[in-house]
Amino acid sequence: MVAYLNVEQRIAGEARVARRRPRFLGRDSHVAYAFIAPAFFLLVVLVAYPFVLSVWFSLSDARVGNTGSFVGLSNFSRLLSSSIFLQTLQNTIVFTAAALAVKTVFGMGLALLLFRVVHFKRLIRGAVLLPFIVPTALSALVWWWMFEPLYSVVNWTLKSLHIIDHDIPWLSDPYLAMFTVILVNVWRGLPFFAITLLAGLVAIPRELYEAAQSDGAGPIARFWYITLPLLMPVLAVVILFSTIFTLSDFNIVYVLTRGGPMNMTHLFATYSFALGLQGGQIGQGAAVSLFLFPILLAVVFVQLRIVRKAALYE
């Protein structure tokens, strides 16, 4: 979930105010450090240190109950020549790209529709956001039940409508399993796109549309030349956030398929879990999860750039 951010605005805004009132500067930095200390300590011990540890693991042959010794990049080179890892890499790309594309397009559509909803506004928005709030591990269980081989409600419906005449193996066919986990990810993530984009839509001044309309712009032109450009910063932030959350997804795949059938739905997170915890090869597992890190850095970098650019236009 999200409360992102205008990193620059949140931080820079403060300096501006402080400069105007030097009166309170004196002891302030002591107070500031004292206030920040607990959070800082927590993050150093339980985020920064584990991260360094993770890098060390990935460069060692650590196993459960054994800190291991330095082996250089051999974990990474072994992964890159392992067919399961290459499959995982491919799965992760397919999963993330497909889920993001669907969520972006339908999320935008849903936001545009919700914007025009007048009656039962709270009720409809509340219903749409619900899948995002409910615990994913539990809601993934009901999807599992809905795609169960024998009693699947989806198959029952399709058979009753005479669309199919035999059961579809949703979770045991490799390609259908990928389709299913993407579907569930979309179900959970779509509300985030819709509600955030809706907030972006509400912030666009109405006068622009009125002016465009009096100049003869139709609905498509208005969407293309007003809505989309003005919504771009919000859209970019939402997509970047969702990239990280989709890429690092664990719950949905673990509950629905555990990475199977034949490793065809393994993502970085589930494969790292299978290798590092279930297989006991901590070094290999850490190396898999570290593949998330460059992507994380790239997202942070792009995000800071976007915010800076958006701030320029203000």
Partner: protein
């Protein structure tokens, strides 16, 4: 029909086809799995496993058997209590640390403010799947594995950055002047934050607490990794891992567990919908 009334008719009816009808499939898609969860949990096993019965509703009477099985055959209420303890404790810790850290970032000028702000932002984006392996080693060293303390200590690692980030934004919206007045009257920084700023930024604090509670209640991976005894599990992990024995799936009870496990969050959501929406979108739009 006069032209005027025809125009009014078009204005009233058109949205039905261009807005409400297209929204309907989305709403059904969002709600159906949750509805199906509830229906399954209340349906008798005989009807549940009858391939000819219509799965969409309950035709042969409600039953509480699945809920009863949860209570008698599994430490279900332990899981519930564990989730509650862990979520409340980590929420209190995270909101307290978040308020303390957000205050200087929103109000004071000090060397390193920018770097700390960016560091908070980056840790906020770090997904649990990147850190669970080394963290399990750290939890072992601290002697916390297989205790609820492990979760109470670890959950704040993703909650504190989130709360701090959210609160910086809320604190900024409170005018600095009211605090300055209090400080001229002799308040210390801590007093002015506690008694002047916090009451004014109360919606932000509520929002941070709600999200922190929801995120820790819903957490799955850390709980799965750090706690293995059945009676110490949290809700999300317990329902998933203890109700599937070999190849036998207790679907009715699984769904009953999922229903009760979602209930606290859904109740909070119904009462505080606006806080959830504003927390979700805070900062996306200035």
């Amino acid at each position: 029909m006069s032209r005027k009334s025809r125009a009014r008719w078009a204005r009233n009816i058109r949205p039905l086809f261009t807005v409400y009808l297209p929204v309907l499939p989305y709403v059904l898609f969002a709600l159906f799995p949750l509805y199906f969860m509830l229906v399954t949990s209340l349906k008798s096993s005989a009807e549940l496993y009858d391939v000819n019965a219509v799965p969409f509703w309950i035709a042969r009477g409600l039953t509480a058997d699945h809920y009863r099985l949860l209570s008698t055959d599994t430490p279900f209420w332990n899981w519930f209590a564990n989730s509650l303890i862990v979520s409340l404790a980590s929420t209190v810790i995270s909101v307290a640390l978040g308020v303390l850290a957000a205050y200087p970032l929103a109000r004071l000028r000090f060397a390193g403010a920018d770097s700390f702000g960016v560091a908070i932002f980056v840790t906020y984006l770090v997904p649990p799947s990147l850190l669970f392996l080394p963290l399990s080693t750290v939890v072992n060293w601290l002697g916390l594995s297989d205790t609820l303390w492990a979760l109470i200590v670890i959950y704040p690692t993703f909650l504190v950055p989130f709360c701090t980030w959210l609160l910086i934004g809320y604190f900024r919206t409170v005018p600095k002047e009211i605090e300055e007045c209090a400080m001229l009257d002799g308040c210390s920084r801590l007093q002015s934050m506690l008694f002047i700023l916090l009451p004014a930024a109360l919606p932000g604090v509520i929002c941070a607490a709600l999200f922190a509670f929801t995120l820790s209640w819903n957490e799955f991976l850390y709980s799965l990794v750090f706690v293995s005894p059945a009676e110490l599990k949290t809700m999300t992990v317990g329902v998933f891992s203890e109700l599937i024995r070999g190849d036998i799936y207790y679907w009715g009870s699984l769904m009953a567990g999922a229903c009760i496990g979602s209930l606290p969050i859904v109740i909070a959501y119904v009462f505080f919908l606006d806080y959830y929406v504003s927390g979700l979108t805070a900062g996306a739009i200035k």
